[in-house]
């Protein structure tokens, strides 16, 4: 199906009945075809989301961990297109409502919100930002629970891939609590007014992209399989991750102190 976007004016027409599927919304006045965006396999996405719900996974700790890498692997779109909030609103109406209803109570921003609020775009962006080349293992770490996802993915430092991966690994290694991650995140943000994140764990920008992977169209069997693979680009050097983890750890005693106070 040709990719469309939904104009933001649709927000005024969305209510609990639309969310519940009790009222069908006529999107046609708000629909715009996205030039040169190509097509998306709607059946594949529907099948994947249904498969995820049929597994009856814990929705706080297991569902997104399982689903996010597979959703990213199934929806091979460029970041430029992913940055269009209207496309995510369209996808939510095309395939997402059953998953959204299962995952959250009604909230308009799950359909029309920014990258971290829209129920489907967060799956894609969190996977894109936390993958290490073709390896989605770190995506599962940052989605181990909602608080890790919040502090690993939603701050400004979370735009830097090595910083996301280092946060997830440290949280997993320490089995960090909500409070510990909150304090650590506060400390990172405070120090970054004087310190460079990139210079703390430098990664040379990867100018190449895995064209074969991005152009390939996987099957449902491939994406629901045991170990989906991402594109072999944007691999993060271990050194950058290690250096950032060391820096984060150096902030933790201070975070503990503040917590004690």
């Amino acid at each position: 199906m040709i990719i469309h976007r939904v104009k933001p004016q649709v927000s005024a027409m969305i209510d609990q009945e639309v969310w519940n599927g009790q009222r069908q919304l006529d999107l046609s006045p708000y629909l715009v075809e996205v030039p040169d965006a190509g097509e998306v396999d709607i059946d594949l996405l529907k099948g994947l989301l249904k498969d995820a719900l049929d597994r009856h996974l814990d929705k706080e700790t297991e569902l997104d961990q399982w689903l996010a890498p597979r959703f990213h692997s199934a929806l091979r779109i460029a970041p430029r297109l992913a940055g269009d909030a209207g496309v995510w609103t369209w996808l939510c109406f095309q395939v997402g409502l059953p998953y959204l209803r299962h995952r959250w109570p009604f909230n308009l921003y799950r359909l029309t919100g920014d990258f971290k609020r829209n129920g489907l775009s967060r799956l894609w962006f969190f996977s894109e930002m936390a993958r290490n080349g073709a390896d989605y293992a770190d995506v599962r770490l940052v989605l181990r629970n909602p608080s890790t996802a919040q502090y690993a993915m939603e701050n400004r430092y979370a735009m830097y891939r090595p910083a996301v991966i280092a946060f997830g690994r440290l949280a997993e290694q320490r089995q960090s609590s909500f409070d510990e991650m909150k304090q650590l995140s506060k400390r990172i943000n405070a120090y970054l007014s004087l310190r460079s994140l990139e210079a703390s764990g430098y990664m040379t920008p990867d100018e190449g992209i895995d064209v074969d992977w991005w152009n390939d169209r996987p099957t449902l069997a491939e994406v629901v399989g045991k170990d989906p693979k991402g594109p072999r680009d944007h691999e993060v050097p271990d050194k950058a991750i290690r250096e950032l983890m060391v820096w984060y750890e150096s902030l933790l005693p201070e975070a503990d102190d503040e917590e004690a106070v």
Binding site: K7, P8, Q9, P79, G83, R195, A199
Partner: protein
């Protein structure tokens, strides 16, 4: 214009000068980018490299950057006798908030200038890309290291010791509070093919409702307004101007859109039926308007009340539409943003005094 000075607990420079030049697309030999540069005077001194008016798609843009700073300023950032190349590293930060792109390119120092080659893929960016040079301490300084100037030095590696003016690479035209409903075109009114705009060449904008879709013409002769609307500055004159110009234009535009949409409602005498406007954009504007009217009435009744006011009580309708327009553009927030931008600017000035 007053200058802002940020305070750091050690020597810090904001004197880095960044120049970007020679843009080309490696996939298209000989292509010349129309790389419009808009200089701004504001506390953050953001310059704009505007690629949003390119008439053909581009896949990649490559360009060279050079960062430099006065030697005497540089000398204050390093210990006595230190080698600048090994003690300080210069990077160019590349951030695209819309696509969550964040990376940095390390620049190479040669002959007192740091140079680098930058490549940006069109498929990885959207809106505006922020390019900011920054200088960091490359190594931990031993305790007690003597600074050149007798002032404090940042002692830990990765500490930022300098930053330069930001360049805003505009990939797509800004889409502000009009939310994609209105096409925006910059035009020099004095040279417009439209006689009305030509004869009003000192005015800042004109909304054309006569075509298939509304088009907002912004007068590019108003260079200060253009710089302000492209600016990403958070404080200072450019930020205050951006918020207030946005508020003024957007409110006026929405009011005109509402009036046009209500005028397009058709209610034949003696008929209960109300015909919606034939143009799709007017129906969308009407949806926005109706959603903002008191919700204790069904949608049809709300539309009917608009028609009644239009036909019998224009003096009631117009102020009501003006209220809705202010709500839609979030006028209060824009004014508060302008106030905050001015307050922060004044605070910084006082802090540095």
């Amino acid at each position: 214009m007053p200058q802002t000075k940020l305070l750091y607990p050690y020597e810090y420079s904001s004197q880095i000068r960044l120049v970007a030049r020679d843009p080309y697309d490696p996939a298209e030999e000989g292509r010349v980018f129309k790389w419009a540069t808009v200089e701004e005077e504001s506390s953050e001194e953001v310059s704009t490299l505007d690629l949003s008016h390119e008439d053909r798609p581009w896949a990649r843009i490559c360009f060279k950057v050079e960062a430099s700073m006065p030697e005497e300023e540089l000398a204050e950032l390093v210990p006595l006798g230190a080698d600048v190349s090994s003690d300080l590293h210069m990077y160019l930060s590349i951030i695209c908030p819309a696509t969550r792109l964040r990376e940095a390119v390390e620049l190479v120092r040669d002959d007192n200038v740091w140079r680098g080659d930058i490549t940006i893929r069109h498929s990885h960016v959207r809106g505006t890309v922020q390019l900011t040079p920054f200088l960091v301490r490359a190594t931990d300084l031993p305790a007690g290291t003597a600074p050149t100037s007798g002032l404090m030095l940042a002692t830990d590696h990765a500490m930022r010791v300098g930053e330069g003016r930001r360049l805003a690479l505009v990939v797509d035209p800004p889409n502000r509070s009009l939310k994609g409903l209105v096409k925006t075109v910059w035009e020099r009114f004095g040279e417009s093919s439209d006689a009305t705009r030509r004869s009003n060449d000192s005015l800042p904008f004109d909304l054309d409702l006569g075509g298939e879709e509304p088009v907002l013409f912004l007068n590019s002769s108003q260079t200060g307004m253009r710089a302000a609307l492209h600016s990403r500055a958070r404080t200072g004159a450019a930020a205050v101007m951006r918020h207030t110009v946005n508020a003024a234009i957007a409110q006026s535009v929405w009011l005109q859109l509402f009036l046009a949409a209500v005028a397009g409602l058709d209610c034949s005498e003696g008929s209960e039926e109300i015909g919606l406007p034939s143009q799709q954009w007017k129906r969308r504007v009407l949806d926005t308007l109706v959603a903002q009217l008191p919700s204790n009435l069904p949608r049809d009744e709300r539309i009917r009340s608009l028609v009644q006011m239009r036909d019998d009580q224009m003096e009631t309708l117009v102020p009501r539409l003006a209220f809705v327009a202010q709500r839609v553009v979030r006028m209060g927030r824009l004014i508060r943003d302008a106030e905050r931008a001015a307050e922060r600017f004044l605070d910084l000035q006082e802090g540095s005094a």
